[in-house]
Subunit: 291 residues, 2 copies
């Protein structure tokens, strides 16, 4: 992966608004592995320096996504600590490290989903917002357990249509609603289940804009609200608050009127007091008792 | 207006998802006036009976809209009480009565907006959801007062684009957001202002789905939430709770997937404890002090 290819990879990561933080992090690690194997450099030290700089660039692509920073930092530290002095060995070790982290991330996602499956049980109706690979995995694991889905269309990119397609393939009875109807339908669900782009140290959840509204409605109507994601999504208390990414307003398809502009902030932050439980590969942590 | 034309009018009223309750009520009264002038009948008694039956049909078109029932009932009572025995006089009196009610409704709307304008004052940012003729009138009255607007796109029919077009003509600086972003933007507004399709006897507000979510977010973030509408929109305590109208899911434009259906409920109900104040032609009633 030469400089030009790497620029292109960064652009792909920055502009992908269809995949969640977990999948984009695994994609970034794939770019890291490719860089390790193919970047032009003359010895181990220049390789390490180059990979350190690329890790930093990859992890900076998406400010709202904690796992990108977490796993790229893990990778970069592993690369820095490599002992070999042979360039080819160093390339393979660095690439293998990235592939191992990808595998760990996938396993964590599946285990988190498995804990969710056990916690949720049979014959439940789950309401969700946005498209999370972890929530998708939960539906996959529950598809023989009479699960039902209520999902939002998730404007502006209609991520809900993509989710509906997968649920349809698994024969999960699914109702799609506009985001505006979340308050009407949250009561019909046994629980809310969403993924996360980042979990903050205080337990608050950064996820696609609208999640906070769903959490408020769930709280008001007594429907439990769960977040399910890999623990790599926790941001340590030392990490600065993430900037909430603003995407192009063109995605909203607004006619061109003078004095009118669109806003397209992708993420909002749901405070911890609205969260009933956090589900990761380590199990279910219950939040405070709901009032 | 013969039977066929009247059927067509009923269909128009039932299927119009672009206009709010105020405008549709005035449209229904126009159909009532036309019926009075042109319906086929041989004497005053048959005219009265026919108009009573048509008033009932018109008022039943849109269950979520209180003013339709209120003003058509007023009209029908006025028609029943008419003293004349001359058919032509009766026709004119009944039509005039409908036109007077239309004018009263328009005046009430403008006066409610005028109270809102005085209450809001200069240089304020208003966030709204859906397209209300009363809220539009408030913006019209405030357009020289440095007002700014944050409006939702209001899926599924993008009513927000229509609102944006009007605000653009008045040079009101306007930001359009998806419904999902309401929780992010409510804090940037000085107040929420919405219209209503019905006001319930307990002060709760029936309005386009998503209003309840905006009210929850406003409450959570301390932004005052006002409803502005004519007092004809109050439902008396004796009236049954309105059914919340469900429109065709086809409006959502969901791809055709097996096991997947769309839901398209147009209205939700915002409880009174989330309302800071109700503004009608009689002035501003403040709700309970906000916690």
């Amino acid at each position: 992966m030469d400089k030009g290819q790497f620029r292109k990879a960064l652009k792909t990561l920055t502009e992908d608004h269809l995949h969640g933080a977990g999948e984009l992090t695994r994609m970034a690690l794939q770019f890291a592995a490719d860089s390790a194997l193919h970047a032009e450099c003359k010895d181990v030290d220049t390789l390490k320096a180059l990979l350190a700089s690329r890790a930093l660039e990859l992890s900076g692509c998406r400010a709202s996504m904690a796992p990108l920073a977490n796993l790229l930092r893990n990778w970069q530290q592993g690369v820095a600590a490599m002992q070999t002095e042979k360039l080819e060995d160093a390339r393979w070790q660095a690439a293998e490290l990235a592939m191992t982290l990808i595998q760990q991330s996938r396993n964590a996602m599946r285990e988190a989903a498995s804990h969710a499956r056990q916690h949720i049980g049979e014959s439940k109706t789950i309401i969700t917002h946005s498209l999370s690979s972890t929530v998708l995995e939960v539906f996959h694991q529950l598809k023989e357990s009479a699960v039902r889905a209520i999902i939002t269309e998730s404007r502006p990119l209609y991520l809900g249509h993509r989710l509906a397609k997968r649920l349809s393939e698994w024969a999960v009875p699914t109702t799609i609603i506009t985001e505006g109807q979340m308050g009407l339908f949250v009561r019909q669900a046994d629980l809310v289940l969403v993924g996360a782009d980042s979990l903050m140290a205080d337990g608050s959840v950064v996820n696609n804009a609208g999640t906070y509204l769903l959490a408020l409605a769930a709280h008001d109507q007594g429907t439990p609200f769960y977040v399910c994601c890999e623990s790599f999504k926790w941001r340590s208390a030392e990490m600065a608050d993430p900037e909430l990414e603003q995407m192009s307003p063109a995605e909203l398809g607004i006619p061109d009127y003078e004095h009118v502009t669109g806003a397209n902030i992708y993420f909002d932050r749901t405070p911890a007091w609205l969260v009933t439980g956090w589900i990761t590969e380590h199990g279910v942590s219950q939040g405070s008792v709901r009032d």
